[in-house]
Symmetry: D2
Subunit: 163 residues, 4 copies
């Protein structure tokens, strides 16, 4: 019982219209679960800002709209000011889908990561592949899916290192 | 008459709760008017996205919320996809107010500028002072106001160079 | 004669070890030449910083090394402080080659563009394709080459709009 | 003995001409030492790239030159490719000194942090004050020094959380 109660938890929040970002979120969830961590996967429209407090790790994904996250994701971040200081020390990560290479996917991820830094969260990169976080150009391909699974695993592993 | 009809026009769009970003917008408008350009100053809530088409220059300002623009500004940018390609070649600029030095004001401005680049807009920096665009830390002080006036002038001058 | 004397000039500066960035530079030069502008193409090692003053447009390309430009390019920018304020109003653009999608190509371009903004230069984006500037993932493919040619043309066209 | 052998170690690397960045580095060192961690403070000119392997945490500081780190710092990062993958999981942080507010201090810090992410390093932000890392505008003032000390403490504390 205690094991269950204390199990580390990750929330994956995403906004998706066409389904590409959703698919990435699902693959990240798979990766995290491989590391025996509890994962909740939610569309941003269904996330109440106070839920952010309940997790050890928060992963946020968005399509690239004008070089940064969708307004729907931004709204959640703006509302999170209510709990400013309370996310300090949690683990964060980000991912993005985009129509084009060089189309703003890196800036989208980095903008989400910046918001996490401002909350005092702990983030990390990957020396292989998509360094700041996984990106998909259009429908996630094998390369992108591999990066997503890997991110889920790496988030889970970092959380397990942090008592 | 013709002169009036052909007069170059700038739109300054801002979001402001406490009034700091609004004040900056007003000072930018003053600077632009000194260069005999027509200026409209509007809260983002009152801007219809199709209005963006009517101007030669668009200047956007936001408080810094989690290192980037407020969701209200982002929503306008997201809606502007409806006119993607139509803003190509217009002049853009950005400004931000922030609670702290090192608190995200530069990243806020650069995120707005990135969105403008994605629209194909023309932007520029300033070799003096606030290089990417004017910032205010709390209430705009004399330094910040000077930068705002200067930005308005420089936007107007660049527009007048572009036939 | 006068035509020759007054002809607008672009400098393309690049650093390249494997040849990918060099190839991009050559394609950009082709695009610019199509618009009847004079183009000089130089490896960064052969550029003297005072040469920057001689051009109407400066385009800088770099491989992506740790998310930003190579130290060789940075050194040229650092030396350019000697002429701070003198590049104000010139047109700038940037391009990058990278090993991976999501591997830092956007941040490399944006870092070069930021340096140009700090010089007071005029930059612009593209509503199609690689919005901030052309990127290549490994050897430039047809997509990347098209973006490069297009950039050269767009730089030349913007310069011709600016008297 | 064992305690000494296993003591966590931080390297602070900086480039400084006028002394402002050096002063920040010293204050960060003070903060870290308060948390009983071993700290080495070195000018970048004296750091051999292989030394990066010897530390649990690496903090890098630079003056803001054209919106990003000095070429001297960039060179060290470029050389670090020799050990790509070996810094994965180490803790990183960054700081910057700048002549102006809005003068590129945030972009300098974020560029260093991006390089750390590409190495797979773990970074974090601060919900108070300078969110991405400490900045000084000219000579470090009391505000900036407080941020520096705080960063040193926070890096040390995060390292102690990571077994």
């Amino acid at each position: 019982m205690e094991g269950v109660i204390n199990m580390a938890r990750i929330l994956i929040v995403y906004y998706s219209r066409g389904g590409n970002t959703k698919r990435m979120a699902e693959e990240i969830a798979k990766g995290a679960k491989r590391e025996s961590i509890s994962v909740d996967l939610k569309r941003v429209e269904r996330v109440k800002v106070e839920e952010l407090l309940d997790y050890d790790g928060i992963i946020i994904g968005s399509p690239t709209y004008y070089g940064t996250m969708a307004a729907q994701i931004k709204r959640l971040l703006d509302e999170s000011v209510k709990f400013h200081g309370k996310l300090d020390g949690k683990v964060g990560a980000a991912f993005a889908s985009s129509a084009n290479i060089g189309g703003g996917n890196e800036t989208t991820i980095l903008d989400i990561l910046n918001a996490m830094l401002i909350h005092g969260m702990i983030i990390f990169g990957d020396p292989q592949g998509d360094h700041y976080g996984p990106v998909a150009i259009g429908t996630p391909d094998a390369r992108s899916i591999k990066q997503c699974v890997r991110l889920g695993q790496r988030v889970a592993k970092l959380i397990s290192r942090l008592p």
